[in-house]
Each structure stands twice: as C-alpha cells, then as structure tokens.
Amino acid sequence: MTAQARSVGWLVLAVAAAVLLSIAALAQGAPTAEDRIAVLNQSYACPVCDGQAVSESNAPVAATIREFIRTEVARGASDDEIRDSLVARYGGEVLLRPPSDGVSTLLWVLPVVVLVTGGIGAWALFGRRPRSNESGVAPTVGRVWPIAVGGVVIAVGFGLVLAQVAGERGVDGALTGEAATSPRQMVAQCQAMAAGDEGLVPALQCFDEVLATDPTNIEALTYRGWYVVLAASSAEAEGDSAAAAELIDSGLGYLDDAVAIDPSYPDARAFRAVVYSRQERPDEVCAEISELRALDPPEMMLQLTGSIAEQNGC
C-alpha cells in the first residue's frame, strides 16, 4: 500500500467517525423533564459567581434561576423561551455556553479548525521533512493539499457536531424557528404579556384566544382567573368595591373550572386559596391549602399561600 493510499484510508475513517458521531448526537431519544432541568441548570451561569453554573452554585440568585427553570419546564416552555427570558433579565453573560447558531457557531468550529489545521501544518513541516531529505526528494506540494483540505473538512465537521452536542441546542432537541405555536407556547406568551409591557388586558385577550381553541387548557383557565383576581385589586384601589367583587367572582369561576378539569394542578389550588381568603372563607382556605400541600407544589406556590395559611390557622 502506498503512502497516498494510506492517507486516503485515514481520511475515510475520520470522515466516517465524524458522520457516526453526528448521527449519534442527533438520534438521542427525547430527554425527560428532569434531564432537561439538569442540562439547563448546567447551561446558565450564576450572575454573581464568575462563570459557575447555577447547578453548582449556592448563591440565592442561582437558586432562584433553578426554581425559574423548573417552573418553566413544568409549564411546557421551550429551551429557547427559557433562554430568551433569562438573557432578557441577566444579559448574554448568563449563557454559560455560547449558542450553537449563527456567528456563535464560529466559536465552536474555529478552535477545532485551528487545532487540526495547525497539527497538519506542523506534521507537514516537520514530520515529513526527514524522509524527504533521506530520499533526496523535495516535499511534494501535491501530497500535502488533499491532506490539508481533508483535515479542514473533518475539523469543521467535528466543530459542528461539538456545537450541536455541547451548545444550547440539544437540551430538548427543539430546533429554532418552529412554525406552529402550541397552546402551551401560547399560554407562555400570554403570561409573558401579563408580566411585560403589554399589561393585563391584552394578556387576558391572549388567554381567551387559547381557550377558544383549547377550552380545557388548565393553565390558561388558571392564569386567566388569577390575572382577573389581580385586576380586582385595581378596582378596589379606585374605590369600586362592586366591580372588585365582580372581578373576584369571575376569576374564581375560571379557577373552579381549572380545578374541576385537573384537581392536581397546584397553581389553581393556590390561587383559589387566595381568593377564598379574600372572601373570608377560612374553611375553604384550609381545605385548598391542604390539597395544595399534598400535591408537592412548586416552592413559589407555597410562598404565595404561606401567610394566608398562617392567618387562617391552617
């Protein structure tokens, strides 16, 4: 076998390895929610910990981000939505690993290209020269070219695989730019509207749109009810007690529907406890909180109802 044939053989082997790695990376099964949470917790930097992942940090803000990630995953938010929320609040520095799309891909690809190309260059410069000198023949440019080009192709391939596997994509396997918007995604958008600049009215309209296509969506029912309850406090502040009471009743109706559809959804239980407390119905408050505690609810819901439970002697 000639030296050139051996080189081609190595090249084919390396390309095959790169292709297999790519297939293996893309063919992984769908991860569980806990897998997603674990990977996401490793993907974001604690904002006050100098590059430490939130999964490894004991800082309060890291705990808060972990809670946020868990809640968002349970809510059905995509990795992109979680990333966008965190970047909007803490800036790009919260990304522990650069995203694997666009210009950022270069950050993954270039180092591998440089490493492999540099290695080939060094081998071509120093590794082959003694043999050439021994034979008295000058190094052949024609032999170096295919090896160099092949090496760069392999390096780019490995870089792209690395970006796909180690970059942000790959947590839930979701590709960016999904055309369809699921009811869950729409609920997330409605909640973002309520928490963002748009205010409550567009958010309530947004929930109505979700419910028009998915009338039993418990998240839409629950949060529509809750935001109506919050709107009641505005009416009360303006001295309109009748409107406030009407809004509370309306919000409670949505919460009742949510509980009827899924009695195990903790957010609806927690919000209903708040409404009952406001309506001075201590027995119902304690019953709801008892149900809530049995559901292993998110910490946020326990915090929300903590003072109410105390006040009502639950």
């Binding site: 609040r89 080939i120 946020m300 903590g306």
Partner: protein
C-alpha cells in the same frame, strides 16, 4: 504552500485571540429595565393583602428587593424606614419590598426587629423578573409606570428623594439615561 498554510493558521489564531480579548463581559450594574415599563409586581403580601403595583399609578413607587439574611440589607433598612416616613409625609412616594430567597418567619422577624410597615411580597420570581442578581437592589418606578432609576447595593433615603425631585423637574419624568446607583 506549506508557508501559506502556516500563515493562515497563525492569522486565525491571532483573530481568535483578538476576539476573546475584545469580547469581554460588560461589568457595569445597569439594569435593562430602566426606561422600560415595570413588570407586573403583584401578589399576596406577607400581611395577606392583594398588591398590584398598577394601583399606585400616579405616584412614585420605590421597589426594594432584600433578604432578611443579608447584612447589607440590615444596614440599608433604616434608610428605607426614613424613606417610607418621608413618602407618607409628602405623599410623594410609596414603598414595596420584595423578599428574595426568604421565609415568612425570617421576614416577620426582620420587620419586627428593624421596623417598617409597608407591603412585602415574598416572591423570588418577582425579583428574577426584575433581573435582580444580588440584594439589596432598588428600583424607582415613575408615576407613569416606567422604571426611572435603579440602585444596585444599599440605597439611601436622600439619594432616592433627590432622584425623585430631580426627575420631577424634568417635563415628562423621563428616566435617567444611566443608572443612578453604583
């Protein structure tokens, strides 16, 4: 050819070094919220009342994020008590606190020991909505609902009052172009 290959590798390496050297993080403490409408700050207070920051539209609202476990927050608290008193007397401003990674017991003991009576929301996720990384942090929300100023670290009553007075001199209560805090 080998020489050109080496030059190309060297140039790429230099480019990478330059990219890494100039792509450092932005270490200033500015909040992206300044100049934006405040996120919805609402929920059940530790006193069991419904709170919604929109109810305070037309007044200045000082939103303080703190932790009962946080020594700088203890140091800051007398300033907030004074600020609350000033707000009550002048009708200029009201105060709301958001407890960060705290417990109802811790908050109750904190206010019992250091004083103060204003709404407290025990909700770390609200702090996350504000982009809070380290307590104490304080946001000043204008009567229009726009976040007008932000302080990272302990705040003084004098600084907040001065900021409110300065912003009131401006025709449309435009937010400060930069954070007022450190």
């Amino acid at each position: 050819m080998i020489r050109w290959l080496s030059v190309a590798v060297g140039a790429t390496l230099l480019g990478l070094v330059a990219l890494l050297a100039t792509g450092g993080s932005d270490d200033d403490a500015t909040s992206a919220l300044v100049g934006q409408r405040t996120p919805l700050i609402g929920g059940i207070t530790t006193g069991g009342e419904l709170y919604n920051i929109d109810d305070a539209r037309g007044r200045w609202v000082v939103v303080n994020v703190f932790g009962s476990w946080c020594p700088p927050c203890v140091d800051e608290h007398p300033e907030l008590v004074e600020l609350d008193r000033w707000g009550d007397q002048t009708g200029e401003a009201e105060l709301v606190s958001i407890a960060f990674q705290d417990t109802p017991e811790g908050i109750a003991e904190f206010f019992e020991r250091y004083g103060g009576e204003w709404p407290v929301l025990n909700d770390s996720q609200l702090a996350l909505q504000l982009g809070v990384a380290q307590v104490p942090e304080t946001f000043l929300v204008a009567p229009s609902g726009i976040v007008a100023a932000h302080w990272a670290g302990p705040v003084t009553a004098e600084a907040v009052a001065a900021t409110i007075e300065a912003l009131e001199q401006q025709p449309s209560q435009e937010p400060a172009t930069e954070d007022s805090g450190s």
